[in-house]
């Protein structure tokens, strides 16, 4: 730069001073803004992080110590690591796939518009949308509605979901959920409870004792009289038979015979009662209805939120990558094609390497973006799993303003977050320098 040249400096010191003054004057507004909006807050946060919650007592590095020992903060740091490791790579990959595919379809613009659309939705709204999408109740959450629909197509609906044996009358419920009773007498009563009387099949009739006979017979019945009353475990007026329940007669582990209960709940086997045989009502008839997947439970909540994040950002990645794709020299691709390369080979060996700089930009942007992820997690994660899904930015906010009111610890977290972002920033600046040179 000419200003630094010593010879000219000696020649016209006054002009130089004027130059400097002018330069300073021109830069001043920007400097002031940067100072007030960036440098001062960072400095203040660093200073604040050395004081306690009230802001009056100097505590040195205690807040940093607290940050590294606090269970919730450590979970947040772990989740941030998962986010950084998974989300940017997935967004870039999905964007790349979309970009390459849109080159080949006829309605490329419409498709691009559609994929890009989520970018136009605020994060808050997107969060609310996905909170509903992931809702555990199949009547509300579309994902679980689909899961339940698929499950029920392949699996029969239980006839009496939630039914269970009346406790204390000799009926057993084994681990698999089967209801068992010894078939040692001619007549075996199998009282069940936990079924709403108005949900019984229309054909159900009052339960009765089966007619006497040689084999094992019995009654499966709803051991509950609407309005209460009656004797538990015994037949009586108002107790309905449970029709259509599969009954198995087993000897040891072997099933000897199978039958189904009649409208009054009765069933009959020809085999004589013995000490070694048991009656089994298979669990399938009583299984609680399938409720889908607990998307927002502690195990799946972070992957679920990452899914929402990809939904939003894939469009952005696609547009940037498609831009890079349009500028690629076609000759290399054509040459490869003439040499007999397949589409996959072209994609892997030609397109991706040539796109590397663009992919890098998208990836780095996403890494920085993901590090400060806050809103989606805050909105989608329900209260009970908020800590399990927590990330540093969310933790920072909750600690400072969301009830904790410890802005000292919050400032310490913000400084830590800054330190984590700085290397990525430096990398990005270096890349910009490199691309200019």
């Amino acid at each position: 730069m000419s200003l630094r040249s010593p010879r000219r400096g000696q020649a016209s010191g006054g002009a130089l001073r004027r130059h400097r003054g002018l330069a300073l004057l021109l830069v001043l507004p920007a400097l002031l803004l940067l100072g007030a909006l960036v440098v001062y807050p960072i400095g203040y946060s660093v200073a604040r992080s050395l004081f306690d919650a009230s802001g009056h007592r100097f505590v040195g590095l205690d807040n940093y110590g607290a940050a590294f020992t606090d269970h919730a903060t450590l979970t947040a740091a772990r989740n941030n690591a998962i986010w950084v490791a998974v989300a940017p790579a997935l967004v870039t990959a999905v964007g790349l796939v979309f970009a390459v595919l849109t080159e080949k379809v006829r309605w490329a613009t419409a498709f691009k518009l559609l994929v890009f659309m989520p970018m136009a939705i605020s994060f808050l709204a997107a969060g609310i949308i996905f909170r509903t999408v992931y809702d555990a109740d199949p009547h509300r959450g579309v994902l679980n509605a689909a899961a339940v629909a698929v499950h029920d197509t392949f699996d029969d609906q239980p006839s009496y979901p939630g039914a269970r044996p009346r406790p204390g009358v000799g009926l057993d419920r084994v681990g698999s959920g089967d209801v068992t009773a010894p078939a040692a007498t001619h007549v075996v009563l199998l009282p069940l409870v936990g079924v709403q009387p108005d949900t019984l099949p229309a054909g159900a009739r009052t339960a009765r004792r089966p007619d006497a006979g040689d084999g094992v017979s019995g009654t499966v019945f709803l051991d509950f009289v609407p309005g209460g009353g009656g004797h538990p475990g015994q037949l009586g007026p108002g107790k309905q038979g449970l029709p259509g329940i599969e009954v198995q007669l087993r000897d040891g582990g072997r099933t000897i015979a199978t039958t189904t209960t009649a409208d009054d709940g009765t069933f009959r086997f020809a085999a004589a009662p013995s000490a070694t045989t048991t009656l089994v009502l298979p669990a399938a008839d009583f299984a609680a209805p399938y409720r889908g997947v607990d998307w927002l439970g502690p195990a799946l909540v972070t992957p679920a939120i990452i899914g929402a994040y990809i939904w939003i950002w894939a469009g952005f990645a696609m547009v940037i990558i498609a831009g890079g794709l349009a500028n690629l020299p076609r000759e290399t691709i054509e040459a490869a094609r003439i040499d007999g390369a397949g589409e996959w080979q072209i994609f892997r060996r030609i397109t991706v390497p040539q796109l590397a700089p663009v992919l890098g930009v998208v990836f780095i942007t996403m890494v920085i973006n993901v590090m400060k992820i806050f809103d989606l997690v805050y909105i989608i994660a329900p209260g009970p799993v908020q800590q399990d899904a927590g990330v540093l930015a969310l933790r920072l906010y909750l600690v400072s303003f969301g009830g904790g009111n410890d802005q000292g610890l919050g400032s310490a977290l913000s400084v830590l977050l800054l330190l984590l972002v700085v290397p990525v920033m430096l990398l990005n600046v270096r890349r910009f320098r490199g691309s200019r040179a």
Binding site: A53, A72, A136, D137, G162, R166, V193, G194, V195, Q196, P197, T199, D223, F224, V225, P226, G227, G228, G229, D294, L296, G297, A381, P382, G383, P384, V385, Q386, Q387, G390, L398, G402, G403, G404, N405, D406
Partner: protein, 441 residues
């Protein structure tokens, strides 16, 4: 705790809606001998109330105007009461009277030197008409600053009478009875409880009722002030009792996991909605608001209430909340402000709002016949009958980081506990660790 504030508002809206009969003439019956001694004074009063609650409170203000001649202007502060009051005071233009909910906020205001002590006339009236516990809730360092005008009852179990009828059971009076009733209900095909565990405050309220009845008011106070740890045997015992409910798939719709996926409005809907999925739900008197407003059901016929039953031979708990009037230091009309609070301490003012509905008074002198329906009367009676054993919501008195923040502290620890009720000691240890951190700060 925005939800807690808006729910009573809803409740008021609704109870009023269902019982909007004779409330127009209520305030105007001031006696002819009204002195009009405060004519020309313009009092300013601030509270968080808006909507129906604001309308009804204004009726009280009008009654005061009629009686004394002072005009009163009302400001609704929204949820940020402390901030609004603080900025008014710093700006040199304090309101005269502010309605404050939590005892902790009264203490905070008093410690900052924002409050003027209540006049002897007010404290005398309070002594005469209120159980001592209410005065002590408004007292900081031996000086009474707050007068509780409005109360809330959070020891109420709401049930679906049809489900009870189908199962042939009656409202239980002891906790063991409650568990038995619950099992019978479950046998009849309807799970006993819907628990809105996705919001942590429903769980703290469950715990507080069990603890208050089982351990007694003295230990309750000690735990509130964190003078005994959460690992105390009494806490372990209460958590074990609570685990009997939450650990039982038959008693809670969907078990503990189901409770954690259920938010508060859904839990109410599960009991009183079109197809009941549970027979009972426990939460405070404001549940009535949700039932009537959102589910369009009639309180008293479609939805009934029984008091939270006594646990292990203790006294049935009466736990709740309230709103207190405080006079700000430097109030421009200090004398009129004291007169206004004195007015609030009398039965007349409470009767005005009580008639309008959505209001319970902790004032003994208020005639129970002024309440517009049996359910509200039942709440008012149990608060009055509880006398000095009434206790203010514990989590509302704890530091917010422990008792009032989603996803952390007591809320989170109790949620973890109902997910796995077998580990009582682990849960108690976690509660103690979080409490120690929050109370220290």
């Amino acid at each position: 705790m925005r939800l807690r504030r808006t729910l009573p508002a809803l409740a008021a809206a609704v109870v009023l809606g269902t019982t909007a009969t004779a409330c127009a003439s209520s305030g105007s019956s001031a006696d002819a001998s009204a002195t009009q001694e405060l004519k020309g004074q313009n009092l300013t009063v601030a509270a968080v109330w808006s909507g129906t609650e604001q309308e009804n409170f204004k009726k009280v203000l009008e009654a005061f105007t009629e009686k004394t001649g002072a005009t009163v202007s009302y400001t609704s502060t929204g949820d940020n009461l402390s901030t609004v009051v603080g900025s008014k005071i710093e700006g040199g233009d304090p309101m005269d009277v502010v309605m404050v909910a939590q005892p902790g906020v009264i203490k905070q205001f008093a410690d900052k030197g924002w409050l003027a002590p209540l006049s002897p006339a007010v404290t005398d009236a309070a002594k005469k008409n209120y159980a001592g516990v209410w005065s002590s809730l408004g007292t900081v360092g031996g000086t009474q600053y707050g007068l509780y005008f409005k109360a809330a009852d959070k020891s109420t179990v709401w049930y679906n009478p049809t489900a009870f009828q189908n199962a042939g059971v009656q409202p239980p009076t002891t906790f063991d009875d409650l568990l038995r009733t619950g099992r019978t209900l479950s046998d009849s095909g309807t799970p006993a409880f819907a628990v809105g565990g996705q919001a942590g405050w429903t769980l703290t309220d469950w715990f507080e009722n069990v603890y208050l009845s089982q351990a007694g008011p003295e230990l309750y106070d000690k735990l509130t002030r964190h003078e005994i740890p959460w690992t105390d045997p009494s806490v372990i015992k209460a958590l074990t009792t609570l685990g009997k409910v939450f650990g039982d798939q038959q008693l809670v719709a969907g078990g503990g996991q189901g409770a954690l996926q259920t938010d508060f409005p859904t839990s109410v809907q599960q009991v009183f909605g079109a197809q009941p999925k549970a027979a009972m739900t426990y939460e405070g008197d404001f549940v009535g608001g949700v039932i009537a407003a959102e589910l369009k059901k009639q309180i008293g016929t479609d939805a009934k209430v029984f008091p939270f039953p006594a646990v292990d031979g203790g006294k049935a708990p009466v736990m709740g909340a309230g709103d207190a009037a405080v006079v700000l230091k430097g109030a421009k009309h200090a004398e009129a402000a004291q007169k206004f609070v004195e007015f609030l301490a009398g039965p007349e003012a409470a009767a005005v709002w009580a008639k309008a509905g959505g209001f319970i008074s902790p004032n003994r002198a208020v005639d129970l016949s002024v309440y517009p329906d049996d359910t509200t009367r039942q709440f008012a009676k149990s608060v009055i009958d509880a006398g000095d054993t009434f206790r203010f919501d514990m989590s509302d008195q704890a530091p917010a980081a422990f008792g009032g923040t989603a996803g952390q502290g007591e809320w989170k620890d109790l949620q973890d506990f109902i997910a796995d009720p077998s580990d009582v000691r682990g849960a108690a240890a976690k509660l103690e660790a979080d409490a120690a951190k929050a109370y220290k700060g």
